[in-house]
Symmetry: C2
Subunit: 169 residues, 2 copies
DNA sequence: TTTTTTGCAAATCGTTTGCACGCTG
DNA sequence: CAGCGTGCAAACGATTTGCAAAAAA
């Protein structure tokens, strides 16, 4: 009876509700473009950049301008539904903030795979450091760059060394 | 008797020797511009960006082109004398790698002060994480953003919240 | 109707590059 | 003198912005 859940179904997802609430709280408007961008992001499984998102929307038939994609990503970051982190590249990368869980990243310099991990003891250690310096933490980012299990031994050393020097943290 | 150590004295500093050795090993040339840039960097105490370095050189009477500054910074990063890390901004920041000591950063979102810390237990924890994932670490970066002791309570919440969302990691 | 949003294209900003000339080895 | 290095100005690529038309409240 129910139609198969499709992009359409996302209209009432938890993310959509949260975004709507956020927009209302800021007296901003709920537009088709904003909702489609949100849906597209939460359909994705991994990290992406603005350009890839824009291209994906276009191929889905929605020709939303790059400017709107950037503007909407900003809003989503502000309201906590999307997380931004470069992953070592010089341009911004984003990911849907499913479940609100925080995590950090292991980034393979050979195949570009991104592994996510969460360690409570790491979080605690950071709290200790902040206490020691009387520093109030609001955000943190730990990125470990190297070679994943598949790429160890298979990567060209000189290329990898070059990539290490190019990392943007 | 000895003349007071000045910029000139840097010509034989440990850094200069290391840079010279690196250049020789790569069959690159030891130029005045490269040495002056190195000296200027090691005179500085803190983090800086390419633009600031370029301006500083100019005001010291050395009018080295921006292109050369960028090219030389690259070389210095490659040979390990300079470290690159954005500190949350969208453009590159650099710091002299005195003593080879590794450290991480606490970055105040109000006054932009950067506190450096080193925790052996943090390094060990990262090794554990990498072992667990069979990941070979080559580089890492931990940045904690927030408010330093001086700025807690003095900062405008909405401005800080906005800055958190702008962080580039 | 009032206010916000959109798309477009131009503008920005940090950084890189091609090229002709200059300097190092 | 054979290569590299330099300065210049143009090119770049990601992101932002001003503005007039379009959509939401």
């Amino acid at each position: 009876m129910c139609p198969t859940p499709t992009t359409q179904a996302k209209a009432h997802s938890a993310e959509a509700h949260r975004f709507e609430a956020y927009l209302r709280s800021k007296k901003l408007k709920l537009t088709g473009e904003r909702m489609e961008i949100l849906a597209a992001i939460f359909q994705k499984d991994s990290h992406f950049d603005a350009e890839a998102l824009h291209a994906e929307l276009k191929q889905q038939g929605r020709d939303i301008s790059r400017a709107t994609v950037y503007r909407t990503l900003d809003l989503l970051v502000q309201c906590g539904l999307v997380r931004k982190s470069s992953l070592g590249s010089s341009h911004a990368n984003y990911e849907a903030a499913h479940e609100n869980e925080h995590h950090d990243h292991l980034i393979c310099l050979n195949c570009n795979k991104v592994l996510e991990f969460f360690r409570p003891d790491l979080e605690k250690l950071q709290d200790d450091i902040c206490r020691e310096w009387q520093f109030k933490p609001l955000h943190h980012s730990l990125q470990i760059f190297g070679l994943c299990a598949h790429c160890v031994g298979k990567a060209d050393d000189s290329i990898i060394q070059h990539r290490v020097a190019q990392i943007h943290t």
